[in-house]
Every structure is written in structure tokens, then in C-alpha cells.
Amino acid sequence: VSAPTSPYSIRHLFYDGTAVFRLALVGLLLVSGVACSADSIVLKRPDGTTFSFPLSGPQYDPRAEKLVREIQELDKLIEQSSKGAPRDVAIALRQIASEYRKEAVDNLELAVETAQQTSSLQLDSKLIGKAADGVKGFRQLVNSPTPNSLRVKTQISTTISDAQIHYLGKADHELQLFHWSSYTPGDRLVIGRYVFRVQSEALPGGSFQEEVRIFSDPAMQVLSPIVGVPK
């Protein structure tokens, strides 16, 4: 058997010892080329399906890209953050993380879809803001020291004097199941997301509410109204 003389012949490859390496190199370059020129970032939704965030064109937004990259980074960190924690704590933390992540991804996706389906120029700033809140909660969770038990000591206080404080799980609050529990600083609460209500005659409207994230032991937060209160 003699080797073919044409350098372009497919048969030539079978007689050239370096051909396999060259083919592999071409394949590698092609694959890396695709990855480098990718014009979107793919994010997984909670149900396992994917969502592509555009990195160019009319629906591209640098604020949204920053959030998408943060989510990708936090996806990796969350795996590490709860290592060594008791099983029930790890499960609870991951559940809360997935809620924040979902908030962020849902709002980013809604912003892109809205831009595609309307005569608008840019991604919706309010939706981007909501996505940023989700990412912020996600990051806060990842960065918090992991508690040793599901129930943690809390120290939630308010700047309003003579106020009563009540709390409610955030999920129940969203479902409008308003079965408020009375709160006393020092109470041990299950880690999670809560809505706290501060009631006082000194407040306009009589009360205000604020989300409280209880991830660490102890969990501390001072509740204060956004609008000014007469002293």
C-alpha cells in the first residue's frame, strides 16, 4: 500500500501519524471558538430547563449581564458554603438560596421577554432592580457563616420606641396568610425569610413591614421605617 500523494485526500489522514492530533486540535479550536463567540449566557431555571440571556443585540443590558454572571458565580459557591453543616440546616439554606435565585432569574427572564414583546428600547429597570434584590439575598446567604442548628438566636430590634413587633414567614406573607406571631428579642427562630411588622402610634399609618433574613447565629437586624417618623 502506498500513501496517496494529494495532501487534501481523506485517505491521506490514515497514513499520517500527526493527523489525529491535527484533527483534535481543529476540533478543540472549533469548540473553544464557539464558546468564545457565544452571544448568550445560559442559566438553569429551578425546573431544570434553561434560559439564554443575550450578550449582544437589542436585549443586551450590562446591568443584567453583571447579575447573570453573579448568579453563575454564586451557583458554584453555594455548593461549598453549606459543607459540614448539619443536614437539616444545609437543606434549609439551599431552599432559601433557590428562592432568591428563582426571584433573580424570573425577573431577568421577564425583563428580556418584555423587551422582546413590546415597543420598548431597553430592559425594564424595575425588573432588573427586583433581580438585583434576589442576587443580593443569594449572596448574603452564601457569605453568612453557616449556623450549627436549624433554630438560631435572633436579635431583631427597632428604632421606634414603645413598638410591638410581630413576624410571619415570607411565603405565608406572599400568600396573604397573615397569622402574625408576637416577637421578643432573643427568640430562637428557624432559619429562613421573614416579614417583620412594627406597630406604634408614632408611625404614620400605625405600622411598617420589613423583610428580615435569618441565616446566621445570632441573626441581628434593626428595623426602621423608610419615611421619617416624628420624634
Partner: protein
């Protein structure tokens, strides 16, 4: 919903020399006997098109006044950061269709409608096919006739991989839009001189925003996303029509103008030049309807259609060997998806609803009913709200879309009238 049932029965007759026939002929010829195989193929095609777009017929609805309409859909943007979308062109075509159908061409031949849009989409894309298909099934035949099919020169000149399907192929730039408005005013003046009254309708579907100072702008095709000086303010859009009305106040309502801006009014962080004046109080007889209120989006209806085509090929043979047909029999289903501005659909469906209400009301039996400015706005808005519930993204995001109206049509001169049903001739089924 079945919106069109089209029976297409082109008969294709092919006389085929099959390879077997040739072989047989060669053998027969060799045997001294010339015999060929001739087969005849008859292909029957029938297509049924179904669509999710509500069928809202506006038959028996007529314009009350000789009308000149300019319907603009800005679908192509030269700045790649601004989305090009067929929704605006489809919207303009639907508005054109509604007014064209309602115009009393037989009585007032001077009445004219212009359609100004350029819809350019990637060569051979599903989007292009879907958009042209919707233009075909949702608008008047006159519009379909205006669609320029791709030619060889398009291949040569389309370095950017785009074709022009509708309009004259030029982008609807700020200068072109101003020219078109001037031409429409000239035509409206001519119609007014001939008839003593005229309604000028100016509809523009485009991208739009409110600047940080709260001023409304729309984006012509040559707008730059980061340069508000390239945007078109409402006052710039209205300036020529205002001047036209104010120059002849003696016309006293015989010159009416209805301007419809079908754009978003979402707030943008970019600030506009303070030298651009705000729209001042409008003269009587000039009404501006905006398809979305300040801070809102103008949504696009996610239209889809399915064409179910049945092909049946029947072959008859003359000869001794069966022929081979390249026609395949069977049922072929094709899906089309595009987007169209919501407002024109809402207007059509609002008019259709008004006619239905009129037909069901014993009060109007045998008489015409009028649809004035306020009625038109209210029926369109109701319809808009209902259609918005069919857009999942809008529902999920809790978005609303309400019309905004600037100015008054003094005297509420009716735009449309609903003609009574013609009675069925005796002896025929109703």
C-alpha cells in the same frame, strides 16, 4: 379559530417520459414496435388556515368623512441596539386595512390612504415568511398586492442579508416621516377643497420612550439609542398638522386630525435636550391618542397561524409501465409565528364589538349608528384590556396598557358609522 378557508385546486398535468417507459420504448423499438409510456398526474391541494388572532370583521362600518390616512410602521432600525420588529409594520398594515375597508371609495374617490412601512427581514427566515403570511391573511388584498417579492437584484444588493418586502425599500427615517406627513397634509387639503370636509388620520407604530424630563419621543429608523437628539418628539410630529389646522380656523371642524402614536412610553434614564419644546395645548379638532399611557409598554400580540395543506396526487397511465410521480400526497402542517402591535387589533375588535352591540340592540333597527371620538377610545380601550390578558408575559409581570388621549375633538364629530343590516330578499334564507 378558523379565519380563512382557502380552497386551492391548481391542476398540474405532467406528461412524463418515465425511465421505464424509455427503456420499454427502446426495447419495443428494437423489436420494431414503438410504444411509449405516458402518465398524467393530477394534484389537488386544499389549505385551511387557523390562527389565534381574533377575527374581528369591520364590515358595514364606514367612515363618515372623506379621509386621508397615513399609516406608518417603523420596523427597521439602523442602530443594531434598537430591536427591529415586524410588529410595527403588521400594525400599520392592519390600521391601513381597517380604514381602507371603511372608506367610501365609491362615493368619495378622492379619499386616499397611504401605507408607509419598510419591513426587511433576514433572507429566508421563518420570521420573514410568517410576517408576510400574516400580512396576507390579516389585511386587505390591496396591501398584499403592495408587497414586493424578492427579486434577483435583492440578492445582489443585500450585503446585510436582508430583503425589502414592503414599502419602497427605504428606511422610515425622521426626514422621510416628515416628508410623508407633508404629503398627507397636501392630499388632505386637496380632499378638503373638493369635499368641504376631511379627516386626516396619522398612525405611527414605532419604539417610543419618555425621557427623564417626562417628554415623549418616538424613534424613527435612523434614531440612535444613546442620542436623544435623533429622536422625534411629539411636538415635532404634531407641528405640521397643527399648522395646517391653525392656518384655516374658518374650517371650524371641517378639517379634523386624529394622530395615533402606537409606541411604548416607558421611562428612560437618558435625558432629552431641554431646547425641545413640550407639546402645548392642542387646537380643537386635533386629537392625539397614545396606545400606552406614560410609564407603560405598548405590547405586541403573539400571533400564530397554522396552515394545514392536503395534497392528493392522482395518476392515470397510458402505456404498459407505471410512471413515477414526484408529487407526494399527504397532509402537511406549517406553523407561522409573528408579532403585531396590539392597538390595531384592539381597534378592529372594538369596532366589531360596537357593530355586534348595535346589531343586538332593538333601538337601532333600520338606522345607522355613529361612533365618535369618545366611543372609539372607549371601545378600543376595552378591547385592548381583554387582548392584553392573552399575552402571558404581560399577565405574569402584572403590566397594564391604557390609552392616553391628548386634546379634544370639539363637538365629538363621529368618525365611523355602522350601517344597518340589509334585509334579506324575499324567498331567500336569512
Amino acid at each position: 379559530m378558523r379565519i380563512a378557508g382557502v380552497q386551492l385546486v391548481p391542476i398540474v398535468r405532467r406528461v412524463r417520459w418515465s425511465i421505464y417507459g424509455l427503456m420499454a420504448a427502446a426495447l419495443m423499438a428494437a423489436a420494431g414496435c414503438a410504444l411509449i409510456d405516458v402518465s398524467e398526474t393530477t394534484t389537488n391541494r386544499s389549505a385551511v388556515v387557523t390562527s389565534n388572532v381574533p377575527e374581528c370583521s369591520t364590515s358595514r362600518i364606514q367612515l363618515t368623512t372623506p379621509t386621508v390616512g397615513l399609516f406608518v410602521g417603523i420596523s427597521d432600525y439602523s442602530d443594531a441596539r434598537i430591536a427591529s420588529t415586524p410588529a410595527h409594520t403588521l400594525g400599520a398594515a392592519m390600521m391601513y386595512s381597517t380604514f381602507f375597508d371603511a372608506s367610501r371609495k365609491h362615493e368619495i374617490p378622492e379619499a386616499t390612504n397611504f401605507l408607509e412601512a419598510s419591513l426587511r427581514l433576514p433572507v429566508g427566515s421563518a420570521e420573514a415568511e410568517a410576517a408576510t403570511r400574516f400580512l396576507q391573511i390579516r389585511t386587505h388584498n390591496e396591501i398584499w398586492a403592495k408587497i414586493r417579492r424578492p427579486s434577483k437584484s435583492d440578492f445582489a444588493s443585500s450585503a446585510d442579508g436582508k430583503w425589502t418586502y414592503l414599502g419602497d425599500g427605504k428606511l422610515v427615517t425622521r426626514a422621510k416621516l416628515n416628508q410623508d406627513i407633508s404629503a398627507a397634509i397636501t392630499m388632505a387639503e386637496r380632499v378638503y377643497q373638493a369635499n368641504g370636509s376631511v379627516l386626516l388620520v396619522l398612525y405611527v407604530a414605532a419604539h417610543g420612550v419618555r425621557s427623564s424630563s417626562g417628554e415623549y419621543f418616538l424613534q424613527p429608523a435612523d434614531a440612535r439609542i444613546d442620542d436623544p437628539s435623533t429622536w422625534m418628539s411629539l411636538s415635532e410630529l404634531l407641528q405640521p398638522v397643527r399648522r395646517w389646522i391653525e392656518e384655516d380656523l374658518a374650517a371650524q371642524g371641517n378639517k379634523q386630525v386624529l394622530v395615533i402614536t402606537d409606541t411604548c412610553q416607558r421611562d428612560t434614564e437618558l435625558s432629552s435636550s431641554s431646547s425641545v419644546p413640550q407639546a402645548k395645548a392642542l387646537p380643537h379638532w386635533l386629537v392625539v391618542v397614545q396606545s400606552a399611557s406614560p410609564g407603560q409598554y405598548a405590547w405586541h400580540f403573539p400571533s400564530s397561524a397554522q396552515s394545514r395543506e392536503t395534497v392528493r396526487s392522482d395518476k392515470t397511465h397510458f402505456g404498459i409501465v407505471p410512471g413515477i410521480s414526484d408529487e407526494k400526497s399527504g397532509t402537511f402542517v406549517r406553523e407561522f409565528r409573528s408579532r403585531m402591535s396590539l392597538f390595531p387589533l384592539a381597534l378592529q375588535c372594538g369596532l366589531a364589538f360596537a357593530r355586534q352591540t348595535y346589531d343586538n340592540s332593538p333601538k337601532f333597527q333600520g338606522e345607522s349608528a355613529m361612533i365618535g371620538n369618545d366611543d372609539l377610545i372607549s371601545i378600543t380601550e376595552e378591547s385592548l384590556k381583554e387582548l392584553l390578558t392573552k399575552i402571558p408575559t404581560a399577565t405574569r409581570g402584572g403590566f397594564a396598557q391604557d390609552l392616553a388621549v391628548i386634546g379634544v375633538n370639539a363637538g365629538d364629530t363621529p368618525y365611523f358609522l355602522i350601517e344597518p343590516k340589509s334585509e334579506s330578499p324575499k324567498g331567500t334564507a336569512p
